[in-house]
């Protein structure tokens, strides 16, 4: 799931024009709702907070909210049409994908991001998420006992841990587990340690950022 984090409210306020008179806060009801950052509840709370801010500063600003199921697919945008028509400025509480999809669909509107899109992750505790995947375009989890060295080793090392791994903790931060410790432990548990002895050649990063902007087509929907 795509995980997001609501921007600090002062950063959001500073991104809005000084002469703001109306604003649509557009929530997104999928991934970032699950990560408690961009759903209807956040949209409403933010609206109330900004309303209060402008009221206190004697500025008349009309703020409305509308939350749709997904901001990254055309079909859901119908529900936003009327609200978008009423507002020049839209604060999108979707991930970076949703923000840009709105900008593509509504080129004459100013679409601002209300979230920082952080990573692809899992829910590790109530209100806590952990990065699990970098979307590198070539999954190698089968070789590493199901623990991704690209995403879960801070240095994305493919041939074992660096010298900074101490007692299962990464040298980058005491709060980060060493990804390679996890790979080793899981491989040992599964009896797959010999798999780790294989030497890995440098990963082909052309499927990731080195290959430029990525897109793909499902052959069932496209003819050669």
């Amino acid at each position: 799931m795509i995980v997001g984090k609501l921007k600090d409210v002062n950063e959001i306020k500073d991104s809005l024009p000084d002469d703001l008179d109306s604003l649509l806060i557009a929530g997104c009801g999928s991934c970032v709702s699950v990560s408690l950052a961009g759903g209807e509840r956040e949209a409403e709370s933010l609206k109330n907070l900004l309303d209060f801010y402008y009221q206190t500063n004697n500025q008349e600003v009309s703020i409305e909210t509308e939350t749709i199921k997904r901001q990254c697919d055309d079909e859901f945008l119908d529900e936003l049409e009327l609200a978008i028509a009423r507002n020049k400025i839209v604060l999108s509480l979707a991930c970076g994908v949703g923000v840009q999809h709105l900008a593509i669909k509504y080129p004459d509107k100013i679409i601002l991001p209300g979230l920082d899109t952080t990573f692809y992750g899992r829910t590790s505790d109530i209100g806590e998420w952990e990065e699990m995947c970098h979307g590198c375009g070539k999954c190698i989890l089968d070789q590493f006992a199901g623990v991704c060295p690209v995403a879960r080793c801070s240095k994305s090392l493919l041939n074992g841990p660096c010298g900074g791994s101490q007692d299962g903790i990464c040298e980058v931060d005491d709060d980060i587990d060493c990804g390679w410790q996890k790979i080793y432990d899981r491989a040992e548990e599964l009896g797959q340690l010999e798999k780790l002895l294989d030497f890995d050649f440098p990963k082909d990063w052309s499927t990731h950022k080195d290959g430029g902007v990525r897109s793909h087509k499902d052959p069932e929907f496209f003819q050669e």
Binding site: E40, R41, E42, S45
Partner: protein, 458 residues
Amino acid sequence: MAGSPKYELAWIGDKVETDFKDIQISAKDLVACQGEVGDFILTCNDRNNPAKIEAANIIINLPYQEEPVIEGADSLLNDNYYLKDDEPAIIVQDYPDLSPAFISKVALKRSLEIKNNYPDQEVYYLYQAMRFLEDNDRLYEEARKAGIVFLKFDIGQLTVSEDLKLSYEREDIELELAGTILAAPELKPADQTERLARIFNLVDGYQDYLQLDNIYLQPTQSGRRGVYLLRGSRGPTALTYYKEELDFTLGEIAKNLTGVNEIDDYERTIDDQKCIVCYTCYRVCPHGAIQRDDELNSMKIMELACQGCNLCISRCPTSAIEIDHDYFTEADSEDKTNLIICENSAEIAAEKYNSMTGEEPLSGFKEIVVPCVSTVERKNIIQLLASNSADIMVLGCVAEACKHLTGHDRCQQVIDRIKEDLEKLDLNKDRVHYQRLSPRMATDLGGFLADWKEAVIQ
């Protein structure tokens, strides 16, 4: 579920003989629990039991794990101990920390057992505090008469060396003791406890036991209705009144079997079109009252399990959970301080204060009563702040008096977040206040609100 047996009671762990139609399930075999009081469905991974078991009530009854406190010494709780003829027996009850009260009884019985079986054996009994519950005073007297030497010590007055020699030093007494040491072990939760907390969606308590230190859960309730906790799943002192607690639990189960009522009159529903099955409600519910409805692919509230705290409503990211009541509708336009109070603490304390003094401690405030302060959402507070220029005081509960177990902390998180946001916008964060009370703190409430009126309102 057609064909499945329906039990009145399922024991997870050890079973006790009762008149109920019951079944015993090993904690290791249990993998899931759905449903609510009267209608639990337990999924088991045991070939001797059907995979799905229906039971109206559940008792989790696990033994403690014992951890030795003196390396190399025998456990006082172990019936198979070996005594050498020429060495004294040394019972250590409270080393290094105080043991739970029931240990006194076990230790007294053990010392008498040794003395009765081996009258010539010297028996020393080292303790920090003797607990006189049930017939302990009789056992104590008997033990003294039998010639058992009782040595009371305070922290630091008893040390144990690696070769198991005890040094006892107290005022004018200095003793070196060696012999067979039978020491009270430290008691820890059973090894399946953490798994069971997850399966039953219970909030972990003190030292990872399944019961929190909370007046509403005493003596054997868990946060989930119909699920009861005994012995090593409940807490470090649970064995002290084990028989009474077992009787209480069986009594509760008998009552449940005649019917269980919903806790309040409001209707809470989950809009299956808005629910995205993110499990936030499931995770925050302190009463394990939410589960997924597979047919609707939506979460649903179990009516008998729900205890009406509204935490799921206030935390649902898609605002999919609704209640047919608005606690905040009549926000006051006058400049009265908005007082949001929990019906289980401040409201009761205010009534007590009134009956004690004849004064109305809440007069002069705009009072908003909620079933739990976890009802409060950020948007409610901001709306109240915008409605007038007065302050907002939220009166929640102290942890052990919070009927909804985590509600007091959840509200604190909301208040902290609001204050943080207000500060970031250069708005006055000092208009929002949070205090914790228990229903017993009537005088504190009265005094506190009187001071408040004097300092802030006038």
